[in-house]
């Protein structure tokens, strides 16, 4: 039997609020299916399951903030029989969450105590009412005796109160603070951890991107807007191929002081959100992609990042991050590695500069590439090799 738990969706996530179930008891799920939506400091994330099977029971209800590790649902593998189908499952809060192992670097960090979730308090009446539902009913001034429960067992949950009150759709859960503050906190935690634990090593190179720009101009000239490729996609493609060649730049550094190279390249694409904040969802398994597929993937990530609909695998499985400042940004950026990754590729904005080509000074569009690498894992030699592969690919964009 598989208990599907609240996943950790980032190095510093402690809890998330379940806002939507996309499955119900009896549904068949496959590995990788999106089964729920959880709201985190970095927006709503679609949660995928890593077990195939049949949904036996939903344990957690909507609108509740739950610590990482809290049981959310029971998913049985095919042919599996529930261990004790007669006995009712304990209320969600009764099961202690399994906290993530505390990081060595943060011994003082408080463990995620089960006590942080108030025990489910059963009402004295015959009908079970969830705390969130009771709270909402109180806010709405609704008489709960007029509400019919829809949760397994007849309990009244949040959506029943919303339905009874005439609300068309369940309102998003109340936030304790504003989302921008929450995102700043998440960024602060990850970046502080990075600078405190990762000895950064930086190498830079200014690269002639004229061949790539000419290549795109020619390619995009007759292309419909949907078919056009941006320079940013070329950077991601080049970084992906370079990461595949230099293993020390692609993977994760685990808490037990061990580097584990990744078997595939999942480049995290740093996306600035309008209004502030930043997310870096990963383009999963990017090596086999064509340049066109890389562009389509990047477009999709940007769209969903801004709409607040990223998937859990994208927020957790990045193996290297690419941060490109775009057309109007600054010339160079020395970035901070996103732990537990071991490298970050910083790409400045393209600028026209006098450049020596075949002994002549000519105007060329150049970008400054700055690699931040984890010195526990790599040395200057490997980082230089990464840069050299990247530069070579930018000279022959048709090979991307």
């Amino acid at each position: 039997m598989g208990v599907f738990e609240m996943p950790s969706l980032g190095a510093d996530m402690e809890a998330g609020t379940l806002v939507e179930w996309l499955i119900g008891p009896g549904d068949t799920v496959n590995r990788g299916d999106v089964v729920a939506v959880v709201e985190t400091q970095k927006g709503a994330i679609e949660i995928e399951t890593f077990e195939a099977g049949i949904v036996q029971e939903l344990l957690a209800e909507l609108g509740r903030e739950l610590p990482v590790g809290s049981p959310l649902a029971v998913i049985l593998a095919e042919g599996e029989v529930p261990p004790d189908s007669a006995a009712p499952k304990p209320a969600p809060a009764a099961a202690p969450p399994t906290p993530e192992p505390a990081t060595a670097a943060e011994p003082a960090k408080e463990p995620i105590a089960p006590a942080s979730v108030p025990a489910e308090e059963m009402p004295s009446g015959t009908v079970a009412i969830s705390p969130a539902a009771r709270l909402r009913a109180r806010e709405l001034g609704l008489d709960l005796s007029s509400v019919t429960g829809s949760f397994p067992g007849g309990a009244i949950v949040l959506k029943d109160v919303d339905a009874a009150s005439g609300a068309a759709a369940p309102a998003p859960p109340k936030r304790k603070t504003n989302p921008m503050e929450e995102m700043r906190k998440a960024i602060a935690a990850a970046m502080t951890r990075s600078k405190r634990t990762i000895p950064h090593l930086y190498l830079s190179e200014t690269i002639d991107v004229e061949p790539a720009i000419r290549f795109l101009e020619a390619r995009n000239a007759d292309a419909a807007p949907t078919e056009r490729i941006l320079l940013g996609a070329v950077f991601i493609r080049a970084a992906t191929l370079a990461a595949a060649e230099v293993k020390e730049m692609n993977g994760r550094y685990l808490e037990d002081q061990r580097f584990v190279p990744a078997t595939q390249v999942n480049p995290g694409v740093a996306i600035a959100l309008r209004g502030g904040g930043l997310v870096a969802p990963a383009l999963i398994d990017a090596v086999p992609m064509s340049l066109e597929e890389t562009m389509a993937g990047m477009r999709d990530l940007v769209f969903r990042a801004r709409a607040g609909r990223l998937r859990s695998s994208e927020t957790t499985q990045g193996t290297i991050t690419i941060s490109s400042l775009g057309e109007t940004g600054a010339e160079a950026m020395t970035g901070v590695i996103f732990p537990p990754q071991v490298a970050l590729v910083g790409i400045g904005s393209p600028n026209k500069r006098p450049w020596v080509v075949d002994g002549q000074v000519v105007p060329r569009t150049v970008v400054t590439l700055t690699i931040s690498a984890d010195h526990r894992v790599s040395d200057g030699r490997q980082v230089a090799r990464f840069i050299s592969v990247f530069e070579k690919l930018m000279k022959t964009p048709e090979e991307l």
């Binding site: 940013g232 309008r274 990047m298 940007v302």
Partner: protein
């Protein structure tokens, strides 16, 4: 459609791409990248939206001609409805 109507339609699509922009705050000469901070992906999405709405094919070489609301209104007025 008049240029004023094209301008309004342009701002409508612009705000759809960048929902935090207040439509009334968009000045005629505000540059979509320099002032309104659209990135290259936003610009591509805007071009796509204008293409879908008006059937205008805006090649990359014409992007500077839709860089402000005033320029875009003029560009759309002269290119839309030509079966371009």
């Amino acid at each position: 459609m008049t240029e004023t109507e094209y301008r309004a339609a342009f701002v409508e699509e612009l705000v759809r791409v960048a929902p935090d922009i207040e439509p009334d705050s968009v000045g005629d000469a505000d540059h979509i990248q320099g002032d309104l901070e659209l990135d290259s992906m936003d610009v591509l999405n805007l071009v796509l939206a204008l293409h879908t709405r008006f059937g205008v094919d805006i090649p990359e070489s014409d992007y500077p001609k839709i860089a402000t609301a005033a320029l875009a209104a003029e560009y759309l007025a002269s290119h839309a409805g030509q079966g371009a």
